[in-house]
């Protein structure tokens, strides 16, 4: 199975005194349909890993490959195109724009992807229906519950049909029942081949994924497949 994303010897160091080694020699391979939980204590480098995977930050050393191509040589515009077409993001705080309704918030995920205003709106409605919010199209974030907001954010991330979905503590602001629904939704979405990487503290989420990457002090200290897919894919 070919990797949709590959990190090889990635180090991220923030200058300062002393310098902060957020990532140290990280190797990670992500295949289509992977459901990965990244676990670890605060400050272990989980979010930095997600930002490097999302091309929001460039590694200090090492290589990031997306679709078989190394991204360090790409310009800002080219990296932006990678994010627009290949990657989807879900955040703990949802980051919905308060003055836009659900459809417009989801359509924002397609704004930099192209297509006419009307096409983007109809793709946004499709995405909202996929996450079960077909009845909340015209609601603004203020009129939605926390779980519904996160569903809108997931719809926004998926609208452009990315190959990798990156989620940073997606259930961190939700109660456990709602969080479980969101996890179930994310797990379902990977069935069409979208790889999912979830950064979390929550053991429940980790158990719902089929691969657990444990981090400490910027290093990957274990990378285990436990899910039903483990047998199908073999060892990394």
């Amino acid at each position: 199975m070919t990797a949709v994303m590959l990190l090889a010897g990635v180090t991220k160091t923030y200058p300062g005194s002393p310098p902060v080694h957020a990532l140290v020699s990280v190797n990670l391979s992500i295949s289509a349909g992977d459901r990965i939980a990244v676990l670890g204590p605060s400050g272990s480098g989980k979010t930095t890993l997600l930002h490097v995977l999302g091309t929001l930050e460039r590694p200090t050393t090492g290589a990031v490959w997306i679709g078989g191509h190394e991204v360090s040589g790409l310009t800002d515009a080219e990296l932006s195109a990678v994010r627009a077409y290949r990657l989807g993001f879900v955040f703990q705080n949802f980051y919905l724009l308060d003055h836009l309704d659900a459809v417009s918030n989801v359509a924002l995920g397609l704004l930099y992807w192209g297509g006419s205003h009307r096409d983007r709106a109809s793709a946004a409605i499709d995405a909202l229906q996929r996450v079960g919010l077909g009845h909340r199209l015209a609601h603004t974030p203020g009129q939605l519950s926390g779980g519904e907001k996160q569903r809108v954010a997931i719809a926004r991330a998926l609208a452009a049909r990315p190959s990798v979905l990156l989620a940073d503590e997606p259930t961190g602001n939700l109660d456990s029942a709602t969080g479980a629904e969101i996890v179930t939704l994310l797990a379902q979405l990977a069935d069409d081949g979208t790889a999912i990487v979830v950064v979390t503290h929550d053991g429940g989420i980790a158990a719902a994924m089929d691969r657990q990457v444990l981090m400490r002090d910027g290093r990957v200290i274990s990378d285990v497949r436990t899910g039903q897919r483990a047998g199908l894919q073999g060892s990394p």
């Binding site: 930050e57 040589g73 790409l74 195109a81 627009a84």
Partner: protein
Amino acid sequence: MIAGAGVRNATEQVAGRKSRFRLADAVRTATVGLRSRALRAALSALGVAVGIAAAVAVLGISASSKSNLLAQLGAEGNLLTVSAGQDFTGGPAPLPLTAEGMIGRIPPVESVTATGYLPNATVRRTAAVPTINTGGISVLAVQPNLLATLGGSVARGTFLNRATSHAQAVVLGAVAAQTLGISRVPVGTLVYLDGQYFSVVGILRPVPLAPEIDEAALVGFPVANQLLGLGGHPTELYLRAAPDQVTAVNQVLPFTANPAQPEAVQVSRPSDVLAARAAAKNAFTGLFLGLGAVVVLVGGLGIANIMVISVLERRTEVGLRRALGATRRQVGVQFLAESLVLSLLGGLAGVGLGALATVVYAMTATQTPVVPLSAVAAGLAVALSVGLLAGAYPASRAARLAPADALRAS
């Protein structure tokens, strides 16, 4: 992958397409951003609106007055006046009886008319009004062709003709009629003029080029000579010269009017006086334009200030948009477009307000309102440049935000 393949080629394989953001998207994004902070946006655009309104109103009012003035001047300002001055002893030097005829023979002179001032004559409503209450009305002897030369017209009744010039008939200037309280001229309307009753046969409309006519009671030369002791000498001549010959005529007038004492003749061009008055108004135009420019500048600083604050407040939005695939440039364009929309709305409101002020002013001054297209275009151009300048720095700040830092800001 082939080694050495272009980066762009690689990106196309990676991404399929380039990150896109159309002009319509930029404008839509900008208006959404502003609508979410409508009050703040309106207040920050107000400065630009007020400044541009002031400038457009000043230019509009000035243009309206100018077009009104040109209408007043009638032809190309070819009216000249010749008046009796003083001789070298300081005594009055009346114009010779021949002056009018001589001037009429100068080829470029199209028409000429004489008036004679009667310094001792007064006009009152009746004999019962004390002599001292003259109301500042002077008595002038005039010729029937006065109105044709001055471009004046009659508001009520008729002007003097050859017949009524011999009779005890008087025509009142606009101001004189108002002073005497006469607004209509039914048969039998009389005024007491230098000891005798004269019939009022007409009232004139104001004559902008010769305000002295407005304040005068006009009688014919024959009756002035017979009853009022004028002696036939004109004191002032009005003439129209061919428009391209005005300067040449101007030079020969003193010698022609009074060959014996050319230095005792005063020649003037009333349109110069009006033009000077208009120029004095223009001095204020410059001042107000300067003030308008200062207000626009301050308004622009207000917009820049609001945009800088907006970028700081919306760091996470910037981070989000970068994560969704916006390039640095697209983020910059978004904030620049917000600034431009803001200042352009201010500019449009300002042009509207300025035009409205011009119309209101012109209507109260009974002028035809003129809003120069150049003022409108300049107002909008200034608004656009202010928006561009005010938005440039905040936009570049927003564009330079590192996406990961912007997302961590919350």
